[in-house]
């Protein structure tokens, strides 16, 4: 075209005008720590594996999950999911059912027979792991992944520790437990059952370069209750462990459980299933002070378990117990009122917490024990070089998830130590709080409720109470994840830029800014749903 001068112009010639020079602020892509990940004691990259689940690629999701936690099917049942407590989605509608998706993935892995990715090349190093509870299994798994040889010495007849001897079947079916342990064995973890370690230093002489202790806390705490000879006063650990034997414990028709933790609930629900007409939990404080998780209390109440709040047991008689009513003082502590009451009881089960058996460490120099727990540093190493510890014996928060997390952390520290290095955890990114996000973009989608086992069956059988999600609602649930703090390639920045100054790099590659044209308006940052862009002042 022989175009008229000046009034007619060639298309797109404005590219010569670099409007980036106008900028006083520049956008930057950032990765922030999602609150679920931050809250996970096992250090799972929850958002990372949900990302694959959202796309329906469950195998990839499972593989991403087991990079941090080898027990998803177990975790999906017994974890108290602090991740969901941190989940930003609760500010939109309700938290993402992370735990149920985890369980779905764990179960799917069992069904499909998925295997762990092969471990790294063998290092020739051998690590002794004492105890096959969650901490031990987790440590052994991660050490194996890194190429070390992990050998577990388990004192008991079966692997699993408190997962087997402390958690009732209706919460964790044993086939699930067995399957995940078997997968670890198949992976190369060696478990020697009925091998009790009484002297760690001696055991290490079996050719081990390091040791990880995860012996748990099996010794029930007792409270002094005057009791007649005929009365049956048992401890919760013994009752729950007894459930794994051939003969179930004899608790009688009326069972009183003393305590307010999850174990007390477990025992009461177990008693109900064993045929008790009445299972009563006696707890000295109020419901809101109860350490047991609210949903477990709720399930127990649904199953007909009664709870006497603000009550202590004064004495146990032959077929009844005497309790005293308590009242909260100004500071919220329970104080005796002098009001007494008798309750019929065939047996009393004490669920007042457990202590660790630390006898195997008696001769180890450098070890420090405080408040019944072994002291460890940031890398889970005890005061004795090369001896690491985790799980219930090394922490206040005694959950399977915390133990799995300890195991992983210890494995990393052991790996470093074996290489003569100092374990240094990676610095954590700032947390992706809801204020840093734009929650408008997330569709309203309430949490999918897991199917709950019919109430009659729950009272009489040890079948699993909570069902799993099926594929459609697991997918739905996974897709409720808001990907807090990390780009999930929603294309918003690419779309909302008035200057076409965002370059889309293609699936999985995210975006970059074209600073030749970016004027620094900041719309991309404001409209980023997940808060993965921040504006920073230009220096000049």
């Amino acid at each position: 075209m022989d175009k008229p001068f000046a009034i007619t112009l060639d298309p797109g010639s404005s590219l010569a005008n670099h409007t980036g020079s106008w900028r006083t602020f520049r956008p930057e892509y950032v990765d922030r720590l999602p609150p679920c990940n931050a809250a996970c004691p096992a250090g799972e990259n929850i958002q990372g594996w949900l990302f694959h689940a959202e796309a329906g690629d469950y195998e990839k999701a499972w593989h991403a999950l087991v990079e941090n936690n080898p027990l998803p099917a177990i975790m999906g049942r017994v974890c108290y999911h602090p991740c969901e407590g941190g989940c930003n989605r609760q500010h939109v509608d309700s938290a993402v059912g992370i735990n149920s998706v985890e369980r779905f993935l764990g179960d799917e892995a069992r069904k499909q027979g998925w295997k762990f990715a092969p471990p790294a090349a063998a290092t020739g190093k051998r690590v002794l792991v004492v105890g096959s509870g969650p901490a031990g299994l987790s440590a052994a798994y991660h050490l194996t992944r890194m190429g070390h040889k992990a050998v577990i010495y388990e004192a008991g007849p079966l692997a699993g520790g408190m997962m087997r001897f402390g958690i009732p079947k209706y919460r964790l079916p044993r086939d699930v437990l067995d399957a995940e342990i078997q997968r670890l064995i198949d992976f190369g973890v060696e478990i020697q059952l009925q091998t009790k370690v009484t002297d760690v230093q001696q055991a290490m002489k079996d050719g081990f370069d390091a040791v990880f202790l995860g012996v748990g806390a099996h010794i029930a705490k007792r409270a002094y209750i005057p009791a007649g000879d005929a009365n049956k006063v048992l401890d919760a650990v013994a009752v729950l462990r007894g459930m794994e034997g051939h003969d179930a414990p004899m608790l009688g028709r009326k069972v009183v459980v003393y305590g307010g933790g999850n174990t007390a609930i477990d025992v009461a629900r177990t008693a109900k299933r064993l045929g008790a007409e009445e299972a009563i939990i006696v707890y000295r404080r109020t419901r809101d002070k109860m350490p047991a998780h609210d949903f477990e209390v709720e399930e127990a109440l649904q199953e007909g378990i009664s709870i006497k709040w603000l009550t202590t047991i004064k004495e146990a008689g032959e077929s009844d117990i005497m309790v005293e009513k308590m009242a909260l003082d100004d500071k919220g502590f329970p104080q005796p009122t002098g009001e007494f009451e008798r309750i019929e009881a065939d047996s009393v089960v004490l669920a007042l917490g457990q202590d660790a058996d630390l006898s195997l460490l008696e001769n180890v120099p450098g070890l420090v024990v405080e408040g019944g727990m072994i002291k460890v540093d940031a890398g889970m190493m005890t005061g004795h070089p090369g001896v690491f510890a985790g799980g219930d014996m090394a922490g206040n928060e005694r959950t399977v998830t915390v133990a799995v997390g300890h195991g992983k952390k210890a494995a990393r520290a052991i790996d470093a130590w074996l290489r003569g290095e100092q374990y240094a955890p990676l610095p954590k990114a700032e947390i992706a709080t809801i204020e840093r996000m734009n929650s408008w973009y997330y569709s309203d989608a309430p949490k999918t409720v897991r199917p709950v086992l019919d109430i009659i069956r729950r009272q009489s059988t040890f079948e699993e109470v909570l069902g799993g999600l099926d594929e459609t609602n697991a997918l739905f649930e996974a897709r409720r994840c808001m990907s807090c703090g990390n780009c999930f390639e929603c294309d918003n920045c690419y779309g909302v830029c008035p200057d076409n100054a965002v370059i889309k790099l293609g699936p999985g590659k995210r975006f970059k800014f074209n600073f030749d044209y970016c004027k620094g308006c900041g719309i991309c940052a404001t409209e980023c749903p997940c808060g993965a862009i921040r504006m920073v002042a230009e220096e000049n």
Partner: protein
């Protein structure tokens, strides 16, 4: 083929033979008959393919033409008077964008007071709009100029206004020699736009141009118009070879050889002037007339050449630069700059005032004796004017001028008491 027909019809048929592709029209007297005829031809299919669009204003009419021309269609519209002023912004825009639109202006006075009759105020108000302006003397010339206008416009990529006197030409039935379609096709090539809106080759038309290039753009518009001074005579010559008659060109002289007095005028009044000149020549007066066909670009050199042998020049024009005098005469004077001769400006025929042979005889004779005022208003009723001037001196609220004058003339409708 010789035909007796109305001027508007003749123009409409000529325009139709130029195969316009988009015609947009808004009615205003005295242009209406042209677009009515074209509208009918499009509707009954005799003019096809062509889109005829009844728009809601002259501003829209020119704007539609801008759009259609920019999209590569041969585009035509027609207007007059107020309509031309109403579209003025778009008139300038069409030339600024270099769009070869052809528009008929059926010349008519501009109000207020509103007046539907002929003068040249409308077209001349747009003399600096960047359009080429051709003035027709007769219906035949009006018809012929339209055919040349399309060729000229499209060659230069500039819009062309063909001006013909309202009513005097548009509504006059005269014999015209109507060309054949084959002749027009032979003369007027298919429109090949210089620039065009085309998804296959996108451009941005109508950029904002700042001080860094605006002067250059304006100069180029001027340079382009100047090219027309070369093109027009050759197109007129070519026209003669195809159609067998003289039409168009820059100017026409009539009996100016050895003339001491030359009258200069545009449009249909040239016919009356020629009759008077014939009669005066018969009586021995050395007088002739120069008809201006091309007003923009103004053919300065040709005008100078045509007039420089005379002793005096009388520019008789149907337009007026209020506060100055004449418009055409100002242009003619520029052509004569440095030449020592008498120059007279005669304002005549405004708002349809008849220009009679009798008045012209008197006027020209006065001119020959150099007895004319430099600025003369032909057949002005001084009595009426003076009365109003007195009224205004006497009373601050002396009433509206037009109504006062009508009352003085004695128009019945104005006698409201």
């Amino acid at each position: 083929m010789l035909k007796q027909m109305e001027g508007s019809r003749a123009v409409a048929e000529a325009v139709a033979m130029c195969r316009p592709e988009v015609i947009c029209a808004y009615p205003i007297s005295p242009q209406t008959h042209i677009v009515e005829a074209l509208g009918e031809m499009v509707k009954d299919g005799t003019l096809s393919p062509c889109e005829f669009i009844n728009v809601e204003s002259e501003f829209a009419a020119m704007s539609v033409a801008i759009g259609s021309s920019a999209a590569g269609a041969r585009s035509y519209t027609a207007t007059a008077s107020q309509g031309l002023l109403f579209m003025a912004e778009a008139v300038y825009n069409a030339s600024g964008l270099g769009l070869p639109i052809v528009m008929t202006v059926a010349n008519r006075a501009i109000g207020a007071p509103i007046n539907i009759w002929n003068d040249h105020s409308d077209a001349l108000s747009q003399r600096d709009s960047g359009w080429l302006q051709l003035f027709a003397e007769t219906n035949q010339e009006a018809l012929d100029l339209h055919i040349q206008a399309f060729r000229l416009a499209e060659e230069l990529s500039l819009p062309v206004m063909v001006c013909m006197d309202g009513f005097i030409l548009t509504h006059a039935y005269e014999r015209v020699d109507m060309p054949t379609q084959a002749q027009v096709d032979a003369y007027l090539p298919k429109y090949v736009p210089r620039q065009m809106l085309d998804p296959g080759e996108p451009v941005s038309i109508g950029a904002m141009v700042g001080p860094e290039a605006f002067m250059e753009v304006r100069y180029l518009a001027h340079a382009k118009q100047m090219e027309a001074l070369e093109l027009i005579p050759s197109y007129a010559a070519e026209f003669k070879s195809v159609f067998g008659r003289d039409s168009g060109g820059l100017t026409h002289t009539y009996r100016t050889e050895d003339a001491e007095t030359i009258i200069v005028a545009m449009g249909s009044v040239l016919g009356t002037i020629k009759d008077v000149i014939d009669e005066m020549r018969d009586a021995g007066h050395k007088i002739g007339v120069l008809g201006i066909t091309l007003f923009r670009p103004f053919p300065l050199a040709r005008v100078r050449e045509s007039l420089q042998g005379a002793k005096r020049v009388v520019v008789l024009e149907k337009s007026m630069a209020v506060g100055l005098g004449g418009i055409l005469s100002t242009n003619v004077r520029m052509a004569l700059s440095g030449l020592h001769m008498h120059g007279y400006t005669v304002i005549a025929g405004l708002g349809g005032r008849a220009i009679t042979k009798k008045s012209l005889h008197g006027l020209f004779r006065q001119a020959e004796q150099d007895a004319l005022e430099p600025l003369t208003f032909l057949d002005l009723d001084w009595n009426m004017v003076n009365k109003q001037l007195e009224r205004e001196k006497a009373h601050r609220r002396s009433g509206p001028v037009a109504e006062n004058l009508l009352r003085d003339v004695g128009v019945v409708a104005a006698r409201n008491y």
